[in-house]
């Protein structure tokens, strides 16, 4: 009962914040609402008992990546209001695609099978009983070891590429 009510509040907040991200005229306002959006998403994870994922979501997305977004907006002093033009064919096309996708989602929700929400609780989704983080670690380092390691190598590659691009630009200028 309480969990369902909270889920309703969070879901409403997510939709409201997402709308504000798109509709806000000021880009800083947009970025701040994106932070709120990601934070409420973490609240839903926490509601499902996935503490670890919720904490990482806030730590990585809201705490680190979005601050860089805000950084760039402030440094470049972006003014989206001036750049905004009337909707062209591209915008209208995108709007139609989004509308179709949303329609499919609504039809699916109304006609399709009910998805059972995972039962929230103190121990959350723990199978071993030692807590959600323990389970996650166990699964990540046994069943999903290869995908996990591949992902880490991929991130390392991106980092090396980033350093390389930054260095190459510097060498050309004596």
């Amino acid at each position: 009962m309480g969990a369902t009510l909270l889920f309703g509040i969070f879901a409403f907040l997510i939709v409201a914040c997402s709308l504000m991200v798109v509709l806000a005229k000021d880009s800083v306002v947009s970025a701040v609402f994106l932070v709120a959006d990601l934070f409420v998403m973490a609240c839903i994870y926490a509601l499902l008992g996935a503490d670890f994922v919720a904490a990482i979501q806030v730590l990585v997305y809201a705490g680190a990546i979005l601050i860089l977004f805000l950084f760039v907006i402030m440094l470049l002093n972006l003014d989206i209001v001036a750049a905004r033009t009337n909707a062209g064919p591209l915008e209208i096309g995108m709007f139609i695609v989004v509308l179709i996708g949303f329609g499919i989602l609504v039809v699916n929700l109304l006609l399709g099978e009910r998805i059972e929400l995972l039962p929230p609780g103190d121990s959350g989704l723990s199978i071993t009983g030692k807590g959600n983080s323990y389970d996650l670690g166990l699964v990540l380092f046994s069943k999903y070891l290869w995908p996990f390691e591949m992902a880490s190598v991929l991130i390392l590659l991106a980092m090396v590429a980033g350093v390389l691009i930054a260095k190459r630009g510097k060498k050309k200028q004596p």
């Binding site: 800083v28 973490a42 705490g63 959350g124 723990s126 807590g131 959600n132 983080s133």
Partner: protein, 368 residues
């Protein structure tokens, strides 16, 4: 259906206990900044061999000038609130709140005492007992940077903007060594839960600082950078940036930033004591011994009194680190900005990674 049918007795008890715990944590956190104002003025006086504010007292009792804290608070509250004409009003009003709310939220995950039994129920002495433990503290405290960033930007002042950009880059950079320094502790204690970590540090040789000394070194340095304290107080370097991100803020808004800074310091001090120095456990005396001694005095309230002793122990330990913050501030000169970034990325980050690999090797060697 009445309210009684919907809510059971256990739930009522849990909700009441939760409210009391929240009240205790908020009250303690709100007492820290005014006290620290006084300490922050008396300590440099002690270090620099002068007197400091020692006059304001109650009637003829000076009590070491302790009432200076209240005088300062009254002065701040009654100041005129000025909003610059060119400021972004919306964010100018919101920013101090964004600064102070995460600071108070983080305090909720600190375990401030052993579990107590009350009316047949076991009450853990932490407001929220999350599985992710200190990750929760790191996550919420990483949101505090938005208060500073938005404050600097909304002021529409170049000094404020420079201060806030410096501060946000610094805090994002030092979150990495801070996070990396805690991974060896997770590996050693094999849990994220703060209270479990405290319980497993029942022996002084089992304290985190002895098991993972490099982690403590990294944590202690990152702690100063995360709270924008000297020698890393470049966000408010008064010789270069007037007062940094809070240049344009006065009155209660300034007080909120002030509160946020000191509460952040207090929470990090508590976290440091919890992770590395046995939290609420008294050194050389196990929790069972404390309960045993107290049982000789009062049979019924032994566990409650033991919890109170635990709380006081944690506060004493945290107070030492608060003193450490002030001590370092009045001892070391400020770093240059490139030195700060170089230290973070070129020294602390590799050291943190080395520390993880080193700890993993030792654990593997001892296990296999």
């Amino acid at each position: 259906m009445g309210l009684n049918a919907m809510v059971s007795e256990v739930e009522v008890f849990q909700i009441v206990a939760m409210f009391i715990k929240i009240l205790v944590v908020v009250m303690v956190c709100m007492t820290v900044p005014p006290l620290m104002v006084w300490v922050e003025r008396r300590a440099p006086a002690l270090i620099q061999r002068r007197k400091g504010p020692n006059r304001v007292g109650v009637f003829q009792f000076r009590i070491w000038g302790l009432m200076q804290a209240i005088a300062d608070a009254v002065k701040l509250i009654f100041k005129e609130e000025i909003v610059p004409a060119v400021a972004n009003r919306r964010f100018f009003h919101i920013a101090p709140m964004i600064g102070v709310i995460p600071a108070l939220l983080t305090a909720s995950a600190i375990p401030f005492g052993p579990d107590i039994e009350l009316f047949g129920y076991v009450v853990p002495l932490t407001v929220i007992n999350v599985d992710a433990g200190f990750l929760f503290i790191l996550a919420i405290s990483s949101l505090g940077v938005y208060g500073i960033t938005l404050a600097g930007w909304a002021s529409n002042n170049k000094y404020s903007l420079l201060g806030s950009l410096r501060s946000s880059a610094q805090m994002v950079s030092y979150e990495i060594p801070l996070g990396l320094s805690l991974i060896p502790l997770v590996m050693i204690f094999s849990t994220f839960k703060l209270n479990d970590i405290v319980v497993s540090q029942n022996n002084i040789l089992g304290w985190g600082v002895f098991l993972a000394p490099i982690s403590f070194f990294l944590f202690a340095i990152s702690m100063f950078a995360e709270t924008n304290r000297a020698p890393f107080d470049l966000a408010e370097a008064d010789s270069e940036l007037v007062a940094g991100f809070h240049t344009e803020f006065g009155s209660t808004k300034f007080a909120l930033f002030f509160f946020a800074e000191y509460i952040n310091m207090f929470v990090l001090s508590c976290l440091c004591a919890t992770l590395f120095f046995g939290g609420w456990q008294i050194p050389f005396v196990s929790h069972d011994t404390v309960v045993g001694i107290l049982q000789n005095i009062t049979e019924d309230y032994a566990s409650l009194l033991a919890a109170l002793v635990g709380m006081l122990t944690l506060i004493v330990k945290a107070a030492f680190f608060m003193w450490f913050f002030v001590w370092v501030r009045w001892t070391l000169p400020r770093f240059r900005y490139d030195q700060l970034m170089g230290l973070g990325w070129k020294f602390l980050l590799p050291l943190g990674l080395f520390n993880i690999a080193f700890t993993a090797l030792i654990i593997a060697w001892r296990t296999f």
